[in-house]
Each structure stands twice: as structure tokens, then as C-alpha cells.
């Protein structure tokens, strides 16, 4: 079965990024396809490479990156939501003349079309909201 996930809650402020990660691991473990994970609204902060939680806490962006590496996941961060909130890749940093960029390397910035496309091709879309 083809799954896509939508995450709208901020990591650490809400539990939903963590719940979504555990759900994603089970989806993959059961041999299903995870077509895309779409980060929207405050969910975009899960794509920040600059998150530095204490050693004994869960590093959510890193956990997604590891899962993406292992399973070639498509982790898409909504570009409009991200740029507003200061989550930028090198292209956007250049466009807005910012000194740095912070989108983690296993994530890509793209538009809402990626969310709708995921809804069209996936058998199940599961939203993790705050």
C-alpha cells in the first residue's frame, strides 16, 4: 500500500513529529511504500539542520534524515511555509540575500503541489497535526 504523511505541528512544541516518525518506521517495516512526507505550517521546523537538542533527547531532524537515507524517502518541506519561518536552502538563502541556510540535506523545499500529488497517488494520507 502507498502511504504519504502530512506533518503540521512543530517538533518539540508538539508530540506529532515524534508520532509521525514512529508511524513512518512501522509503515516501512511492514513493507509498504512511503511515497512522501510533507512538512507544512509549523511542521517545517522538522527540516532544520540547526536543531541541537540535548544529547539525551530525540533529534527529530536527524531521525528523519537517517530514515530517509535508509529508504530513499522524499521529505518535502513546504517552501512558502518554510521561507516565512526561516527554514531556507542555499537557493532561497541566495534569493533573499541571507547569510546562512539551514535546510537539512535530506529534505527538499517545494510547493503545495507536492502535497496534492501525494494525495492523488497515495492510497492513504495520514495527517499528524497539532
Amino acid at each position: 500500500m502507498i502511504f504519504s504523511l502530512v506533518i503540521t505541528g512543530a517538533p518539540y512544541s508538539t508530540q506529532c513529529a515524534d508520532t509521525a516518525l514512529r508511524f513512518a518506521r512501522s509503515v516501512l517495516q511492514q513493507g509498504h511504500t512511503l511515497h512522501r512526507v510533507f512538512f507544512y505550517a509549523d511542521g517545517v521546523h522538522s527540516g532544520s539542520a540547526l536543531a541541537a537538542p540535548p544529547q539525551d533527547e530525540f533529534n527529530i531532524p536527524q531521525a528523519w534524515a537517517e530514515l530517509a537515507h535508509e529508504h530513499q524517502l522524499d521529505l518535502v518541506v513546504c517552501i512558502a511555509a518554510a521561507v516565512r519561518r526561516g527554514v531556507l536552502d542555499s537557493n532561497e538563502a541566495r534569493r533573499y540575500e541571507k547569510d546562512g541556510h539551514n535546510l537539512a540535506s535530506d529534505f527538499t523545499l517545494s510547493g503545495l503541489g507536492q502535497l496534492v500529488e501525494a494525495g492523488i497517488v497515495s492510497d492513504r494520507v495520514v495527517t499528524f497535526g497539532a
Binding site: 505550517a41 503545495l112 503541489g113 496534492v116
Partner: protein, 122 residues
């Protein structure tokens, strides 16, 4: 555009301006419409407050949501539903809204959820 079709239901449960949910939902609705997929919008709970007329958010540095909601018509999005109970609880009627919407009772809301392929909530 994909040949495949999925029907989308977008549920709005939040009041406008205080959070980004209303605008986030509208942006998704317009995108679904660009992909030419069947789409319905359902306003529950405080979401019905999005449909009150006469917004003027200039002094809070936000874009006018009702002007944007008016774009739904231009995009041929006419399947717009509001929860009857949510209106009643807030002393509103469908006539007090700035947009033409059909009121639904609980059974009709459950039917609407059942008949769509993908349900996104904001």
C-alpha cells in the same frame, strides 16, 4: 496533470487570523483545484467564523481572508458546507455569512466525510 482522480475534503476548524490554519487550508484548496481534483470544503467549529463578512485586517498586517475566500468562486470551488450546530452555537445563520454555503447536520457531515477519498484537516 495526473489522469488519476481523488476527491478531497478540506475541513476548516479554526477561526481566522489568530493562527495560520485558515490561510494554510485555503492555499491547499486552491492547489487541489489547480490539479483539477474534485474538492469540497467543510467548515466546523470555529472554522465557521472564517465566513463572517467585512474583514479588514490591514491594521494587523495580514491579508484579507474573505477576499481570498471569494477567489474560490473563480476557481469553480462551489462545494462549500458549514456545520449547522457550529453556526447555532455562535448565534449565526447561513444568511450571516459572506459566502454561499450549504448547512449540514451531524449525519450529513458524517456522510460527507465518508464519501471523499482524502480528508485534510486544518
Amino acid at each position: 496533470m495526473s489522469e488519476q482522480k481523488k476527491s478531497f475534503l478540506i475541513i476548516n476548524r479554526c477561526a481566522p487570523y489568530g493562527s495560520s490554519n485558515a490561510r494554510d487550508a485555503l492555499d491547499v484548496a486552491l492547489t487541489v483545484s489547480v490539479f483539477e481534483q474534485p474538492l469540497s470544503l467543510l467548515f466546523l467549529d470555529d472554522g465557521v467564523l472564517q465566513l463572517l463578512p467585512d474583514h479588514n485586517p490591514a491594521d494587523i498586517a495580514q491579508k484579507n481572508l474573505s477576499a481570498n475566500l471569494a477567489m474560490l468562486e473563480m476557481y469553480d470551488i462551489d462545494q462549500i458546507f458549514v456545520c449547522e450546530k457550529a453556526l447555532q452555537q455562535r448565534g449565526l445563520t447561513s444568511e450571516s455569512l459572506g459566502l454561499k454555503a450549504r448547512t449540514l447536520n451531524a449525519t450529513e457531515i458524517a456522510d460527507l466525510v465518508r464519501k471523499h477519498d482524502q480528508v485534510l484537516s486544518f
